[in-house]
């Protein structure tokens, strides 16, 4: 059972949350000019990192806000929490 540090509510049990998967996925800037490969990339292709992973989480049974976590997908250690409104180095 992970303990997730919600940036709004504090440390809560994992089952209050929903994992929204890999973060930093950028929608094609010019949708009508993006081809099938660009759409496939955006919709489906993922880095699927084994190691520190920037991901989106929703506090579904709490404040219902989305935020970002950097969580290691092997050790499950959480090393960073970030609100969506905060600037970051790697977006």
């Amino acid at each position: 059972m992970l303990r997730i540090p919600c940036p709004y509510c504090g440390l809560r049990d994992q089952d209050e949350f929903r994992c929204g998967g890999e973060a930093s996925i950028v929608r094609p800037a010019q949708p009508d000019q993006a081809g099938d490969a660009a759409w496939a990339d955006y919709l489906f292709y993922r880095d699927n990192v084994k190691g520190p992973h920037l991901e989106r989480w929703l506090h579904a049974y709490g404040c219902r806000q989305w935020f970002l976590l950097r969580r290691d997908t092997l050790s499950h250690e959480i090393t960073e929490v970030r609100r969506l409104t905060e600037a970051s180095g790697d977006g």
Partner: protein, 413 residues
Amino acid sequence: MRYSGFSLLINALSRHRDWPRAWRDAEPSKHYDVVIVGGGGQGLATAYYLAKYQGVKNVAVLEKGWLGGGNTGRNTQVSRSNYFFPESGRFYEHSLKLFEGLSRELNFNVMFSQRGILAVCHSRHEMEICRRWANAIGMNGIDSRMLSREDIKKRIPEINLDCRFPIWGGFVQERGGISRHDAVAWGYARRASEAGVDIIQRCEVTGMETSDSRIKAVDTTRGSISADKFALCVAGHSSQLAAMAGLRLPIVSIPLQAMVTEPVRPIFHTVLMSALIHVYVSQSDRGEIVVGGGADAYPSYAQRGSLDIHRDTFSALLELLPIFSRLRMMRQWAGVCDMAPDVSPIVGKTPIENLYISTGWGTGGYKAIPAGGDTLAWTIAHDEPHELLRPFGLERFESGRLVDEGAAAGVAH
């Protein structure tokens, strides 16, 4: 050597001390016609069918750990072909038919027991969906039959029909069943090795040497190995291996847990699945009650999963089968499932000319081992997708022609 009643008798005379190795502990050569990365069910089956049926014997299977130690050693052993779409039906039915003859084919007892797989429904709406599903399966030419409440009670006397929510009925595929997962791995390994395939364990691929947009060789912990063709059969680590070749995949890796109780005498004679009360259960030939449930909700490579899944899976199990409340849980583990967006496999060619891939098996790859191996071997030998694999190519994510088997995959995720 052939395993037989006679060989058992002869070896008894020497107190079973002279059985030969089941497969050669091969030293890696510098070059092969085909290198298969991944010594699980898919990789070993592919090697076997290449050597036995495609005439390609100069093959190596590289496994970073011990063969069959990944998802092939961690699943709940179910085989069935009750999927929804015709493409899936054709593929999984091919696999089920191969399972039916597998012990004979491999001269190894895989203990395939076709004890039926039952899905139960807990509302009028679920019954309608199941009827639609059972009809679709029938239209695929595959056996399936709706069951009443009474039918289910007759098959499973221990079931709590008035669980929350009460069971309305269900449907069954009689030819579905379970087998011994280690035996499938070992059976394919033994026959592949016999046919000339080098199985090289404790050999981890750490990088790939490319030239002219082809893979020239793989760097491994036991040296560099070159080949004409390469196949990635590394469920759970497809993204990492693909990245070595400069490829990204439409894959997310999530944990799926399974657990077994202490062994007890035969009491449970079928495979039971409930989508709503999320659990699936069977009894292994060792007597353990084998239980699985939903996948953990976040990506992980840890092969353990977390405790909240136990709570959910055990409550589901005891709601349906209260008799098991006195059993002690013996062991729990998890695999790493490579999930494709449409929960259908991704098998065949890649954008790299001589690299093939077998991934996206998600939570349902075990039942597909024979067909996955057979069709991938054909694909590698002919350098074009086998007929059964054409709907499951990587290109479907660009064309949009997904095969959405989320429901039939049977595992909540």
